[in-house]
């Protein structure tokens, strides 16, 4: 064995080719005869490779569109010299999602007040397709907000519907996408909601469905801090869809899922005759923007505002996974 061990920093830099030729020769000579340093080198190389294998996380098309609308709208304000407070252009506010949840409480109230005051001064200079100040959350709204919701009358339509979404098509274009119904699954019970509670009889076991499950209701004690925007306190039937509700659903579900799942798409749908959100996630293949598995959730918007964690998971109207 050689009389010297290289420093960890030297081994790491050696792996990156960031050593001098003399250092490289010394390290290689040492590694040839030192098992412990050879093992450390191998493990560091493996760690580096495992990290690289995580792949580069991509923005979803929805996120890109939102960012573009918000930022490029802001440039017009910048060009006119009308910037808001704190270096942020009027009309551009930060989405403050905490663990994937929207925080709308006091911060939201102050933000609304600030937007009202600042917006009065700059409303003419902030470009926005809706004619008002636009937050990133607002910009996250689907471009086709006015389009009729997707209708899903039965669970076997979910897979075909999901595969037809442009965002999903783009993600699996190089894989062996197939259309067709998901595996047989129990019919999801409609969750008749009362003002105060859910129909507990709607809850059902999902033990027999590994990749497809329908959820039942749950009284759930959790909730999104500060409420859920337009859906704060919502406990009634037939809530109107809003951008906030969609963002709240997306954020609430994201909070229940590991970060290894990436959101691909979100859509307002009519699910068995009731309003719902369809949120689509994927397990990335590692690189190239494709996905090895897709998971879809169908959820009542009000549940997203009122439930969290396991309670929200139990309230899913449908949860379905498939390999594209």
């Amino acid at each position: 064995m050689n009389s010297t061990h290289p420093e960890i920093e030297t081994i790491s830099a050696y792996l990156d080719g960031m050593v001098t030729s003399r250092e490289r020769a010394q390290v290689e000579q040492h590694l040839a005869s030192c098992g412990s340093c050879g093992e450390i080198t191998r493990r560091m190389k493996t760690a580096s490779g495992n990290l690289a294998a995580l792949g580069k996380v991509q923005m979803t098309a929805q996120e890109q569109a939102a960012l573009r609308r918000t930022l490029l709208g802001a440039t017009k304000t910048a060009a006119s010299g009308a910037w808001g407070f704190g270096g942020r252009p009027a009309g551009v506010t930060s989405r403050r999602w905490s663990s994937g949840r929207l925080q709308w409480s006091l911060g939201g109230a102050f933000a609304l007040l600030a937007v009202a005051v600042v917006g009065f001064a700059f409303m003419r200079s902030v470009p926005n397709t809706d004619g008002g100040a636009q937050t990133l959350t607002e910009a996250m709204a689907p471009a086709d907000r006015s389009a009729a919701p997707i209708t899903i009358a039965s669970d076997d339509q979910i897979k075909g519907t999901v595969l037809a979404l442009p965002e999903v098509k783009g993600s699996i274009s190089k894989s062996t996408a197939e259309s067709g119904p998901p595996q047989a699954a129990p019919e999801a019970p409609a969750l008749a909601r009362t003002d105060a509670s859910r129909d507990s009889a709607a809850a059902q076991s999902n033990d027999d469905a590994e990749s497809f499950a329908t959820g039942g209701g749950d009284d759930g004690g959790g909730g999104i801090a500060g409420g859920g925007g337009a859906y704060a306190g919502a406990a009634t039937d037939a809530q109107p869809f809003t951008v906030d509700a969609g963002a709240a659903c997306s954020a609430a579900i994201t909070a229940t899922q590991p970060d290894s799942l990436e959101e691909i798409a979100a859509r307002e749908i009519s699910y068995k005759g009731r309003q719902a959100w369809l949120i689509v996630y994927g397990v990335p293949a590692g690189s190239g923007g494709s996905f090895v598995e897709i998971t879809t959730f169908v959820v009542d918007p009000a549940d997203c505002a009122n439930l969290s964690g396991e309670a929200l998971e139990r309230s899913f109207l449908s949860r379905y996974s498939f390999k594209p």
Binding site: H5, I8, A13, I40, M44, L54, A78, W97
Partner: protein
Amino acid sequence: MRDPDLEAQTDELLVAAFVESKDERALEVLLARHESRVFGIAYRILGNRADALDATQDVFLTVFRKAGSFRGQAAFTTWLYRLTTNACHDIGRRKARTPLPMETLPNPPGAGSGEMDTRLGVEQALRALPQDQRVAIVMRDLYDLDYEQIAAATGVPLGTVKSRIARARRALAGIMDDSRGMEPRSGGGRLRKQR
């Protein structure tokens, strides 16, 4: 609408085009060219999409707002990475919470398979790193920045970058400080006498 002429321009010329003629299309090209990279780095540093989106928005707002102060003495990407690092640092500092521990989350589809377990383990180990090490190792191993670029992005000397990357790899590899009877130390890069 895509503009092939603009898309063929360097980053630096696009910045100049915006500053001199307020050509918003130049910013669109810059955004399209770099947004995913900025977002991806921020995501791995901050650990969630929401914060990464906030960071990305902050970075490009700063680019748009301070484009006039960009002199082109360094590469645009160097400035961009510096802004990304700063935005992540600011968001991380502002947030009182820590990321939800992975073990409290439900298993994702595929959990239990070797590949997925490895991915989850790596993500968890990455989150456990000090942020300065996480920034360095993400930029190096995931985004192929060289040591000089990382030093410029983080505003620390080259030796510090080298040390941070090494420490991060040692932690990710689960190598104990005393695995060779050595004490942890940073910098130097010299060969050391065995005790």
